[in-house]
């Protein structure tokens, strides 16, 4: 990533004293930003590394006097209270996240392909209808969702949460895919049509391979949406189908909770998305810069 900046060389002598202020100011700002960003993260580690389970007290030591991996050990071996089912719940979270990602990519790419490449008349109407989904924030629909999932026979079922997440992820997915699809020349489709390719061929052989970066971004977006969700998982799921998100959210006020293990579990839970984003950072950055391009 090379960043071109202008004006750096055109500094005149009388600006030198000003420059010292600018450099000093940005150093201070940098330190402030570092503290601001890391303080809550540091707090998570401070509690997670505490050898005693019932402690969130801060005793004045900036570094735990006896850092211990006891919290992590009791998570991995599922010996702490509330965390007996940790790996099962973690599996549920992964199942919801992956299913949301796969279905969002599938449903979103099919719809976006039909609108952008098959020139479906009234296609733009569909895009607008999709965007209307965001007119009512997702959390405002939790009550009707609770009722209709019972009506659909999906009470206490992971698929209820997956359906909800796919619903809220797909409009954004369609928007991103529409923007990205413009970069693929239509002539490719026309050439394929000449060769007698059906729409399905064009989708599978041209659209999907060329759209891979955008599809990866959409998949990550959907996965993160599901991974960050609390409300839908808390309301639509109960005991057997709990997820990590729900357990961590519900038990944080219990004075008897094994705090160090809970925060160790939190550290374990936040790692997969970070690893994923690091692995795909080139795609993510590229698409961000593309969408920024489209908006200005």
């Amino acid at each position: 990533m090379s960043i071109a900046l202008s004006g750096g060389q055109a500094v005149r002598p009388r600006r030198k004293s000003l420059n010292i202020w600018v450099e000093g100011g940005s150093a201070l700002l940098g330190i402030a930003l570092l503290i601001w960003s890391l303080l809550p993260v540091y707090n998570i580690f401070l509690v997670a590394l505490d050898p005693d389970e019932g402690e969130i007290e801060f005793d004045g030591n900036l570094w735990p006097p006896q850092p211990s991996l006891e919290g992590f050990r009791s998570v991995v071996t599922q010996q702490a209270r509330y965390l007996e089912d940790f790996w099962h719940q973690f599996g549920n979270s992964i199942e919801i996240g992956l299913a949301t990602a796969v279905l969002t990519v599938l449903v979103g790419s099919l719809a976006s392909f039909a609108v952008s490449r098959l020139r479906l008349s009234r296609g733009p109407l569909l895009i607008n209808a999709a965007l209307v989904t965001y007119a009512i924030p997702a959390s405002f629909l939790i009550v009707p969702y609770y009722r209709i999932m019972h009506a659909y026979g999906l009470a206490d079922n992971l698929w209820a949460v997956i359906a909800a997440q796919v619903t809220f992820a797909t409009p954004f997915a369609i928007l991103i895919l529409q923007l990205y699809a413009r970069l693929i020349p239509v002539e490719l489709d026309d050439a394929a049509r000449v060769d007698g390719a059906t729409a399905l061929h064009m989708y599978a052989r041209i659209y999907i391979p060329l759209m891979t970066p955008a599809l990866a971004v959409v998949a990550i977006y959907a996965l993160l949406l599901a991974w960050n969700d609390y409300l839908y998982q808390a309301v639509l799921l109960s005991t057997k189908h709990m997820t990590v998100s729900v357990t961590q959210g519900q038990l944080f006020e219990d004075v008897d909770a094994p705090y160090n293990a809970m925060m160790a579990a939190a550290v374990i839970y936040v790692l997969p998305p970070i690893a994923l984003l690091l692995a795909f950072r080139r795609y993510v950055l590229a698409s961000l810069f593309m969408s920024g391009d489209g908006r200005t």
Binding site: S6, A138, V235, Q248, T296
Partner: protein, 305 residues
């Protein structure tokens, strides 16, 4: 777009395999239209089953004037509306303006600033629930990390954050800013990078640098992006349940709730689903204009490209 297709399809070299007349347009279109309809069908099904039906159901649940009378007479409702206005108004504007300014900071050509971007993005990468719980524990009372830190460093007793309504609402706002400012900073960095270098050079020749360059060159160029992003964040903030529910938890005595959490409590804690939906949907007068402006802006962009 369709012009290109017309040219290609109608070009003479295409008709070699046919009988000399141009290939038939209509059958091709209808076959493709059928495919297109089949491809759109899954999303249409999702949309009807999980958007149209729940929204209609919500409107039906809340469509009783008596519910709104009950809402207004509830002493919790009006303070919650004020909290929501503060949460959205302050949270969104500080987030967006801060992100806009910081995007300029992060584009300064210094190696350490580029390194700083990684820890700065961490709040956005950390799952929402865990971030909010950490905020809650940091502020829980005098045993919390922040008050402990204040005492260790400066010897002062920090306040009991969740015993005062204004401090609790403020804590929610700070958690919201902490979580979302990094994301929008990245978006604005992307936006700023698309501004051609020549524009800034030309502005520098005319003496527009520093604050003047920001006010007269950078900001006008980013204004549309800024507006769209601000409206999107406003929608998200209005619907933000997790922050208020997990950071302050409504403390003290449900006085720091926002509409999303109050509606949730009505619906699930006191078993009044209609009232819960009515509380949430009472923000429609704010939501609908935002969505209309947002859709217009997005359409204008579609035409421009």
């Amino acid at each position: 777009m369709s012009g290109t297709q017309e040219v290609l399809v109608g070009a003479p070299r295409f008709s070699v395999k046919g009988t000399g007349r141009p290939p038939e347009h209509r059958p091709l279109r209808t076959v493709e239209t059928r495919w297109a309809l089949a491809f759109v069908a899954p999303y249409a099904a999702v949309f009807i089953a999980f958007v149209v039906y729940p929204v209609a159901y919500a409107l039906w649940l809340a469509a009783r004037p008596s519910l709104f009378a009950e809402l207004v007479s509830d002493p919790l409702y009006l303070p919650t509306v004020i909290n929501t206005l503060f949460f959205v108004g302050v949270g969104v504007n500080v987030t967006m303006f801060g992100a806009l300014l910081l995007s300029g900071f992060f584009l300064r050509p210094r190696w350490w600033i580029r390194l700083l971007l990684a820890p700065y993005l961490l709040p956005w990468l950390i799952a929402t629930v865990q971030g909010c719980v950490s905020f809650h524990w940091m502020l829980i009372d005098q045993r919390g990390f922040l008050d402990g830190l204040l005492f260790a460093l400066f010897g002062i007793d920090g306040p009991l954050w969740f015993n005062h309504r204004s401090l609790a609402v403020g804590a929610n706002i700070v958690a919201f800013i902490w979580k979302w400012m990094p994301f929008w900073t990245v978006i604005f960095i992307a936006g700023r990078m698309t501004i051609p270098r020549e524009i800034h050079d030309a502005a520098a020749v005319d003496g527009a640098i520093g604050v003047r360059r920001f006010a007269h060159v950078t900001f006008p160029l980013l204004a549309n992006l800024y507006l769209i992003c601000t409206l999107l964040t406003t929608l998200w903030a209005l619907g933000d349940f997790t922050t208020a529910y997990l950071v302050s938890g409504g403390a003290p005595a449900l006085s720091s709730d926002v509409l999303a959490t109050l509606g949730f409590r009505y619906a699930f804690d006191t078993a009044k689903p209609g009232l819960g939906v009515a509380a949430m949907l009472s923000s429609l007068p704010v939501l609908i204009p935002i969505v209309i402006v947002l859709m217009r802006r997005l359409q204008i962009r579609e035409v421009q490209l």
